[in-house]
Every structure is written in C-alpha cells, then in structure tokens.
Subunit: 250 residues, 2 copies
C-alpha cells in the first residue's frame, strides 16, 4: 500500500513549519495538552515515537523519565530538524515509514503517535506491528484527525455559515465511506485516510488492544473566552485520541 | 435522575407499534441483523434483557439455547404485550426501570439492550450496575441511537437536500454538547440523552468493560438496490452497537 511522504515537499514543509510556529494554534491549545493528559508515567520506559517529526516530543519523553526513545519518520527534512534541535544520546532517530516498523528491535513499553496515523493507508497493519513491538501491558497512545474531518471528500462546502460567516453546522457526508481522501493543505493532493469510529475501535480490539480511554477535545470556557473562534469544536472536534493497552488475554 | 416512561403514552405507544409492524423498517433491515451478528453463543446462559419491550427477543434468546431470561421494562403497556405474546416459564418479565436493576438477583452471563439506552439519563450508573450483575467474562451487548442522531437539538433542519429532495449532507451541530434533547417522535417532548463516542467508550472502560466490537451499520449494495432511500445511512448511520466483556483485570 502507498506510503505518503508529503512532509518532504518543500511547499508543504514550509507551510507546516509556519503553522506550527504560530503562538496559538490547535496543536498547542488542544492536541498537546490532551496528549499530555493521557500520557502514562514514562519513568524507566522505552518509548517508540511513530511520526516523530522534528523531535520535540522525543526530547520531552526523556524529561519525563524515559530511558530511551526511538523516533521514526518518513520525512528526511523533519528528521534533519530533529537531529539538529533535539539530539540526545538516548534518542535514536530513524528514517522509516510507519508501515516498516516490523524491522525495529523491540520491545517498547510505550508507543506514541501524534497526528500521523490519518496519513497511513494500512492502519490494521501498523496497529498489528505496534502490538508486536510492545511489551505485555504496554501502552499505545495516539492522536489523529477526527473522523468528522477525515470523511470530508472536498465536494461542497465543509461548513454552513450564517450571514455573518459564523459556522452554524458541519456539512457531514460520506462518513460510512472509508478510504482515501485527497485534499489541499498547503499543496494539492495531500492524502488522508478516513476510518469510522467503529473501524478504529475494532482494528485495535482485533489486534489485541484493550481501549482504556478516548478523547475528542473541545474548547473549555477559558479558551473560548480568549479564542472565541474555537466554538466550532463543539460541532466538529479536530482530533481523536486513543489510549490502549496491549493484552494477550483477549 | 429522571426515568422516562414514554412508551406508556397512548399516542406514542400506538405510533411505535404501527412503525414496528411495517414490513420494512430500519429495525428489521439494520438493527436486528446487526444485533444478531454480534450475538454471543447463548447456550446454557442466563440472560438479562434491558428494555425488553414486547418480549420477542426474550423468546428468541430461549430459542438460541439460553436457560433463563429476565426481561425488564419501564412500560407496563409493553410488558402486557410481552406477557400475552411471548410468555414462557423460563422468561421472567419485570416492571422496572433500567436505573433500578441493582435490586435484581444476579449473576447473568449476557446482558442485552436493544435501542433503549439513549432514553437513560444516568448512563454511567446503569453501566456500573450491569457490570455488577454480570458474571466474570460476561458479555454486554447493546444498540442505541447513533450519536449523529442524538446530538440533534431540533434547531434548524436535520438534513440539507438538493432540489429533488435528496439528502446531500447531515447538518451536524452541538456534537460535543452532551445531555438531554427533547424531540418530537409521535408525541412532543420525547427525551433522549446525547453522549459522544468517547463518553460511551470511557464510561464502559471505567466500569471495567473491555470493548470487543462496535458497529455503525449502513446499507449493503443488496439492500440499497431494493430500498434506495437508505443511501442516507452512508452520511448518518442510525444505530451504534457495542459489544463488551466484563473484566476485573483493568
């Protein structure tokens, strides 16, 4: 199946870097705080970071007490940043697609993936490989784009707005039609893979994961007061988080 | 918390009975086949049916090999039908709200609930009580209205249609705002309780259930050919199913 490396496209890479450098964005308001709230105790743990990008989080996992971190990414450009800005003897950065992790030497105690799995076509294959690489009772924590986002085919407007431009409701269609979606995000032809909630849950359960927690973060009253534009998350959360535990008892 | 007994309203009861008696409806095309596909082996099992209604399914569980069935329902009218049409020495019908099942004498091996839990305000309380009543490794299988349905507040149109009346997309809003929704279904003021996917999953996980499978059924090509009006399920599944196993290991 296809392995997408959109992050090595110059235009995409620059657009993405600029977005991430904005002081306030959905990542630092919602994604990172939720991931951190779900983070297990990493003391003494061996971590696998799937889609580590520029490595900030790998460095953070060490600060949280991890003994070693392996960060993999399909993008050489992102890994160059990681090796320059977030190098540490306890971190190993590898140029590798998530689909190829079977070649890694495990086990790991915790696997983490932030906003990368919606780029993966072979979701079931990756989930099985993560399960294989984890120690018994090991934790898999990931975020991905929310199914309300990934289902969008690009046909028609994503939102219906009132006369002042305020979003009234999401135009939700094709939720049950899974698979590839090509959208424009900095560049044309960015490929995401849509999966329903039930497919996400069933794929994990079938691979032998027990689901501990899921989250679909939206704006707290405090965030809403400062950044009222995020009222739209009440209609459509941007991210879906899953925390699951490897079990061989199922 | 409120316990709703809408089925004892005469107008609602008659409207609901008429709907169920239609030869082709969403229940016999999608709900019942999916529930049956998820059904565990009932041979020798003690069954609890939460919201048993007129008891057809209690009778079916016996045919599947169950040794005993306790069917509870808040509606006396529904139970009258059950006792008249689906009586059996191995079935006990009890007039009881789901919220009050702690008074039942367990354990049960399998708890099943078909399209009733979206009427329940205290979801967490019911889930905990079901967990208490199940034997170790016991199965809890339920269907409920899909969150894309329960989130609808009654403001605005539910669907956007093209000039021929065909549904183009669901107008999805307020998904992250959980709680009571009052809608009109045969009568005004029918109360449903909206919960997100993540709340549903987290409530089960917290109570000690391992989620085995979830389903959001939509129309197969065969059904679509006969009943093309069900194309709308690609946009909005009507039902959400959960199959979970009691575990004390979590």
């Amino acid at each position: 199946m296809a392995k997408q490396n959109i992050f090595d496209n110059d235009t995409f890479f620059e657009g993405y870097q600029a977005l991430r450098e904005k002081e306030v964005n959905a990542n630092n308001l919602f994604e990172l705080p939720t991931l951190n709230a779900l983070m297990p105790d990493l003391t003494g743990k061996r971590i696998l970071d799937l889609g580590c990008g520029s490595g900030e989080r790998c460095a953070d996992y060490l600060k949280r007490g991890a003994v070693s971190v392996v960060g993999i990414d399909i993008s050489e450009k992102m890994l160059e940043v990681a090796k320059r800005e977030n190098a540490d003897p306890a971190i190993t950065y590898l140029h590798m697609a998530m689909e190829d992790i079977a070649s890694l030497e495990g086990p790991f105690d915790v696997a983490i993936s932030s906003l990368a799995l919606h780029y993966v076509e072979d979701f079931a294959g990756v989930i099985e490989k993560v399960h294989d690489l984890l120690s018994e009772g090991g934790i898999f924590l990931f975020s991905q784009e929310h199914p309300f986002s990934t289902c969008y085919t690009g046909k028609g407007e994503r939102w219906t707005r009132d006369e002042n431009g305020k979003k009234i409701h999401l135009n939700l269609a094709d939720y049950c039609i899974e698979g590839k979606r090509e959208t424009t995000w900095f560049v044309d032809g960015v490929q995401r893979y849509h999966r329903t909630f039930s497919t996400t849950v069933n794929t994990l359960a079938k691979a032998g994961f027990q689901i501990l927690q899921m989250e679909e973060p939206y704006a707290s009253p405090e965030i809403l007061e400062k950044y009222p534009e995020y009222y739209d998350l009440f209609h459509k959360p941007d991210f879906l988080f899953v925390k699951a535990k490897k079990t061989s008892l199922y």
